[in-house]
Amino acid sequence: MSEDYRSMWADLGLDLAAHDALLGVLGQAYQDIYLAQKNRPEGMGYFDFVMSEVHGLRIKELLDEKALEEKNIPCLRIETDYSMEDVGQLKTRVEAFVEQLR
């Protein structure tokens, strides 16, 4: 992370342990599947960004820019409660996003 948001999120009541567990699952899938691809398309650069920053502030910036059509970057917006229950739905969204990029 470029900045340490941890105290901010803890103050807002985020369960950081659950968040890290979720990132662990997605992060490993990300490494095995996405990082391993040769010739990764441009949109994946922002997937890197999202995976490392992973919070609403930055995603909102990307969406705002996209709305203004300043940048034409494929975007995936994810909402999660940082529990493990929605991993299946998240996988489907992420896989569909990757299919769009191919």
């Binding site: 929605d86 299946g88 739905q89 996988k91 489907t92 969204r93 896989e95 569909a96 299919e99 769009q100």
Partner: protein, 171 residues
């Protein structure tokens, strides 16, 4: 060559076999039940094909059991829609447990997709219950909605269960 596609959904499993020209040679359907991979194995048993691809929420179970390729329902819908409706530019999938809206580019690729899998009001199950409450068959329900007089009642912004309760009180 025969190619098969299997869709392991939350309520039903569909299996279709096509030839090289894309003509449907066989089709099967079964309930998913509580053990999707066992039902998938049963439905595939005895069906001949050279390659199979899986989609739906159970696709990864199938991938492991059969060493098959997978694709998300979103891409599968896009491909299928263009085969049957070459002029289409959008797909609306009302599933048992979720809904998906997909828009397509001119060339048939997925442009944008949205999924509602968080709220019961966005499911086929909800529509079934509402139809029954109002005394319609589900097949008739959509047509009746399109014929409606053009006013709508605000049932409940947030909750399917509360909305259903409100509907009964309106009768």
């Amino acid at each position: 060559m025969r190619f098969a596609g299997i869709d392991i959904g939350s309520r039903t499993i569909e299996l279709v076999v096509v030839d090289e020209a894309g003509q449907i040679k066989a089709g099967f359907q079964a309930d998913t039940g509580f053990d999707p991979i066992t039902e998938a194995k049963k439905i595939v048993d005895g069906v001949s094909f050279d390659r199979i691809m899986a989609t739906g929420y159970g696709r990864n179970l199938f991938e492991i059991a059969f060493e098959a390729a997978t694709v998300t329902e979103i891409k599968a819908h896009a491909k299928g829609a263009r085969v049957f409706f070459p002029e289409s530019n959008a797909v609306l999938d009302i599933g048992g447990q979720d809904s998906k809206a997909i828009s397509l580019f001119e060339n048939g690729r997925v442009k944008k997709f949205e999924m509602n899998d968080r709220c019961a009001a966005g499911t086929g199950k909800f529509l079934e219950i509402m139809a029954k409450t109002l005394g319609y068959d589900i097949e008739e329900f959509g047509r009746q909605a399109l014929l409606a007089a053009g006013w709508h009642i605000h049932l409940c912004r947030r909750h399917q269960v509360a909305g259903a309760g409100n509907l009964r009180r309106l009768d």
